[in-house]
Point group: C2
DNA sequence: AAGGCAAATGCAAATGTTTGCATTTATCTC
DNA sequence: GAGATAAATGCAAACATTTGCATTTGCCTT
């Protein structure tokens, strides 16, 4: 989904109301075109003269994530980042602990697990992410005067 | 490790100082014998007349976790719980979204992954936990007058 | 035992995020 | 289109947790 009308249709199809704020937030996510924090999105919509409360941003990012419109990732510094979900569906992430670059992982551990190991738990959600140092950050760390 | 002396030896072996507070916190973890939150541990040590600051609790739980003495799990309600690490080594968890019961998983996705999918990331840490409803909570949800 | 140094601590303030509650808004039904 | 209803919002306060900085403490060397 790459245009506003399509996103809005998906939203109403899920029984969500189409508010002015939601439209502005979705447009921000389209414009920012990548991973953004709640703060960045808030700053962006304020700069476009839309007065929106911070908690409204959070509540909407949450709502949009639970209907599958957004993808949420928590970086190593504990700040959450959001992006419009590409068609690829359920997936996980590999996140750099230094530059915070996020890349996708096709692999989902839940599909590899023997059902009996789940001990009859139902509606199982899989929280899985890998944190390491990407190639660029390893190289930087080896330079003589690197920080 | 099930007694204080053994824990203390492990601590100093890792180059950590053996402070009064650390001893008290370790004893609390031994006494509480299961999963406890920072708040619960703080309350427990205060009740035993040891005045310890909250941030000291957090800093120590963090330090003890990074040297492998404790195991930390974040519940679905975003509160972190800690317990003394049993000998079993690296593992992950299955956590009930309703009663917050925590059970162990032998399975670690990182060991199942093709190295090339890690895109040359180094020092890769695996954050993996499953959240669902345990058998007991499913049954309770089906009772006519359940909440 | 005395002195020095790094690690640990107390305190207060800040972090990102969530929540309770009164008010507003979008959408549905007539 | 008017009115009803549930969802969405603004605001302020709360949440668990972290951090900066000055002070204290444990431990190593002499």
């Amino acid at each position: 989904m790459t245009d506003l009308a399509e996103l809005e249709q998906f939203l109403t199809g899920k029984g969500c109301k189409l508010t002015r704020h939601r439209r502005v937030i979705l447009q921000a996510l389209l414009d920012l075109a990548g991973w953004s924090s709640a703060r960045e999105i808030h700053t962006y919509v304020l700069a476009r003269n839309h007065k929106v409360n911070f908690s409204t941003i959070y509540r909407n990012l949450d709502a949009l994530t639970s209907i599958g419109l957004l993808c949420r990732v928590e970086r190593a510094d504990a700040i959450s980042y959001y992006t419009l979900n590409q068609a690829s569906g359920h997936h996980h992430h590999l996140i750099c602990k230094s530059c915070h670059r996020i890349s996708e992982l096709e692999f989902c551990p839940l599909t590899q697990m023997d059902p009996q190991t789940l001990q009859n738990f139902t509606e199982v959600e899989c929280k899985f992410d890998l944190y390491g140092f990407c190639r660029d950050c390893q190289e930087k760390a080896q330079e003589p005067n690197a920080d």
